[in-house]
Amino acid sequence: MTVKHPGSRIALAVAALSLLLVGRADAAGDARKLLIEAENRHRTRTLQYSGELTVVNKDGKVRKKGWKSFREGYAGDAKDLVRFTDPPEVKGVGFLSLARPGKPADQWLYLPSMKRERRIASQDRDASFVGTDFNYEDMEEFDHKKYEVESKGEQLQDGHPCYVIEARPDVNGGKSVYEKKILYLRKDILYLVREDLHRKGEKEPGKRLLLSDIRNIEGHWVAMRLEMTDLKKGSRTTVFMKEIVFDRPQPAGRFTLRNLNREGGE
C-alpha cells in the first residue's frame, strides 16, 4: 500500500483543476472560434424573403400567416423589418428590430389599428411574436458576442455530424429570456441546424428550433424550413421561406421608425 504525502495530494488536485480549467478554456476557445468562423462564412450584406408561416397548436388547430422579411447587416449589426401580409387580422402589422452592440436589440411593433408603433420592452421579449411560437428574442439573429460559449462535443443531427455548443447569455450582453441555448452546427458547412432553448430554471429545453431543407442559393447556405416547437405547450410554428434574395441593396430608410409607421409600407 502506498501512502501519499498530503502535499502530493494537493499537487494532484491543483494539477487536475488546472487541466480542467485548461480543458474548459480550450472548449470555450474552440466554441468561440467555430462561431466566429460560422458567422464569417454565412454573413451576407442583405437578405429578403417571403415567409409562409404555419402555427399548429396542441389541439392540432392550424393557423397560417404570410410575411415579408428584410434584413441588412448580420448578427450583431443586423437591422430587420418584418411585415405581415395575411391573414386579414394581422395584415399590415410590422416589426422592426435594430441590433445594438452588447445590448438587446431595440424592437418596435406597428399595429395598423392604432396607427402607431409600440416599443417592446427589452425584458418583455418572451411574449409571443404575433401569435407564433417565436418570441421577440427569437426574432434576433444569434450574436455570439453576447454569450459565454463552451464546446459540448459532437452529435448527429438529421444524419449530419454537428458541433454542439452551449451558449449562456453574458451579463454584458443584456438580459435574455433564456438561461442557455444549445446550438448544433453542421460540421461540413458550419451552419446552425438546431437550437435547444432553456428558459430560466429549466433543466430540459422548453423550446426547440430546427432548421432544415438547407440549400445553396446564390452561393449562400440557407435553411428553407424553420420549425420552432414549444415543448411545454405542445405547439409548433413552421416557416417556409420563398423568394430568397441575397445582397440586394435595401432602400435608404427601410429600417427606420418612419418606415415602420408607413401604412402598407415595406
Binding site: 386579414p88 418583455d124 411574449a127 401569435g131 418612419r258 408607413r262 402598407g264
Partner: protein, 394 residues
C-alpha cells in the same frame, strides 16, 4: 403587401339592461361591410376604402353625400381611406387625401390625440375618424418630423344627446326633459400641427404644437329656448367650435420589463367657454406572457370655466384606466376598468374573441357603467349592455 383587396363583413347585436326613455330600444342590430383596396405604382402608394352600415337606432343618419364625415350622424356609406403617398426623397414622404392619424403615445387617453376627430356614436367603441389632410413625414438619424395640414374640420361625432349613450350629467332629469339635438354646421377651417420625435437608447422624446379649430364641440344648452310639447319640456342643445392652440411634450422610457410613458399638453383658447387646460397623462405598460397590462392616469390641472360636461371630452378627466389584454391559442380577451376619480363613477368592459378560423371570428362582450350618475360614466347607466358580433374577414 403593397397591393390587394381586404375587408370584412360583420353583424353585431346589442341587448340593454334598461331604457333611458321610450325612444331607446331594448336591443339593436348593427351590420357593417368594409372593403379596402391598396396599390403600389412605382414608389407611390394608393389606398381607398369604404364602409357601408345599417344600424337599427337613431345613431344612423340619412344617406347623404358627406365626404368629410361632418354630419352629426353616421351616414350609411362613408369613405374611410382615399390617399396617396409620394416619396419626395429617400427619407421624406408626402401623404395626401383622407386617412386616420394617431399621434399619442399613451393608450387609453392621450393629449396628443385630443385634436383628432373621434366618433362616439358608440361611446364604448370610441373610434377615430379619418380626416382630409396633407402629411409630411421624414427622418434623419434619430430625429423624426411630422407636419400635418388639415384644411377642413371634421368634428367629433357625439351620441344622440338625450339618449342612453350620451354621458350628460347635466342635472336635467333626462327622460323627463327632452333634449333637442340641434344641427349646427361646423366651421370650415381645420388645423395645422407639427411634431418632432427622437429616440436615444431607451428613451423616446417628442414635442408637438398645433393651432386651429378644436374638433370636440362645446355644448350650449339653450334653456332660454326651452319649449313645452306634448311629451314635456324640451331643451335645445347647440354645438360651438372654438379655436385653440396647444403644445405638448411626450417622453417614454424602457425600464426593464416596463415601458413608462408621460405626456403633457398646455392648451390655450381665448374662448370664454373653453379656457385653458393643462392635461397630463402617465402610463406604465408591461407584458405578461402573450398579454399586456396597461395602467394610465390622466388629468387636467386647470378647472374648466364651465361645467365640464359641456366640453364633453374633458368631462372624463381625471381618470384611471387599467387595461389587460391577452392573446390565447383560441383567440383573445381583454378587460378594461375606467374610474373617473372626480365623482367615483366608472366603467367595466370585458370582451372575449374566439377565432374559429383565420377568417371567421365571434366576439362576446359587455359594458357596465356604474357609480354616481353625476359623473360622465355613471350617467351612462342605461347603456349597460352585452354584445355579440360575428365577423368574416378577407
Amino acid at each position: 403587401m403593397a397591393e390587394g383587396f381586404s375587408g370584412y363583413a360583420e353583424v353585431k347585436g346589442f341587448t340593454f339592461a334598461e331604457r333611458a326613455s321610450d325612444r331607446d330600444p331594448r336591443a339593436l342590430g348593427w351590420a357593417t361591410l368594409f372593403a379596402k383596396g391598396e396599390r403600389k405604382l412605382g414608389d407611390s402608394r394608393f389606398t381607398a376604402s369604404a364602409r357601408a352600415e345599417e344600424i337599427s337606432s337613431r345613431e344612423r343618419g340619412p344617406l347623404v353625400f358627406d365626404p368629410a364625415d361632418r354630419d352629426a350622424r353616421r351616414t350609411p356609406v362613408s369613405v374611410r381611406d382615399l390617399w396617396m403617398r409620394l416619396p419626395l426623397t429617400s427619407s421624406v414622404d408626402l401623404q395626401l387625401g383622407r386617412f386616420e392619424l394617431g399621434w399619442g403615445k399613451t393608450d387609453g387617453y392621450s393629449p396628443a390625440d385630443a385634436f383628432l376627430p373621434r366618433d362616439l356614436s358608440d361611446p364604448f367603441a370610441d373610434e377615430k375618424l379619418p380626416l382630409w389632410a396633407a402629411r409630411l413625414s421624414g427622418q434623419r438619424g434619430p430625429l423624426r418630423v411630422e407636419a400635418v395640414a388639415c384644411p377642413v374640420t371634421t368634428p367629433w361625432r357625439l351620441p344622440v344627446l338625450g339618449g342612453r349613450n350620451a354621458p350628460l350629467s347635466t342635472g336635467l332629469p333626462i327622460g323627463k326633459v327632452g333634449i333637442e339635438d340641434k344641427e349646427n354646421a361646423p366651421p370650415r377651417d381645420g388645423f395645422g400641427a407639427l411634431r418632432l420625435l427622437a429616440t436615444f437608447g431607451n428613451w423616446d422624446l417628442g414635442v408637438w404644437g398645433r393651432f386651429g379649430v378644436r374638433p370636440a364641440p362645446l355644448l350650449v344648452f339653450r334653456t332660454d329656448l326651452a319649449s313645452l310639447g306634448p311629451s314635456g319640456p324640451t331643451v335645445p342643445v347647440e354645438r360651438r367650435y372654438a379655436r385653440e392652440q396647444g403644445a405638448g411634450v411626450e417622453v417614454s422610457l424602457v425600464a426593464g420589463s416596463w415601458v413608462l410613458r408621460g405626456e403633457t399638453a398646455a392648451l390655450f383658447s381665448g374662448d370664454p367657454g373653453l379656457g385653458n387646460a393643462l392635461v397630463g397623462t402617465l402610463s406604465a405598460e408591461r407584458g405578461f406572457g402573450d398579454g399586456t397590462l396597461l395602467v394610465t392616469l390622466a388629468g387636467n390641472a386647470k378647472d374648466t370655466p364651465v361645467d365640464a360636461t359641456f366640453l364633453f371630452d374633458r368631462a372624463l378627466l381625471p381618470v384611471l384606466i387599467v387595461a389587460w389584454n391577452r392573446t390565447e391559442a383560441w383567440g383573445n380577451w381583454k378587460v378594461v376598468w375606467t374610474e373617473a376619480l372626480k365623482h367615483g363613477d366608472g366603467l367595466l368592459k370585458a370582451e372575449v374573441g374566439y377565432n374559429a378560423t383565420d377568417f371567421w371570428s365571434l366576439t362576446l362582450g359587455g359594458e357596465l357603467p356604474y357609480g354616481s350618475e353625476k359623473g360622465p360614466l355613471g350617467a351612462l347607466h342605461a347603456a349597460r349592455r352585452a354584445h355579440l358580433a360575428l365577423r368574416r374577414s378577407w
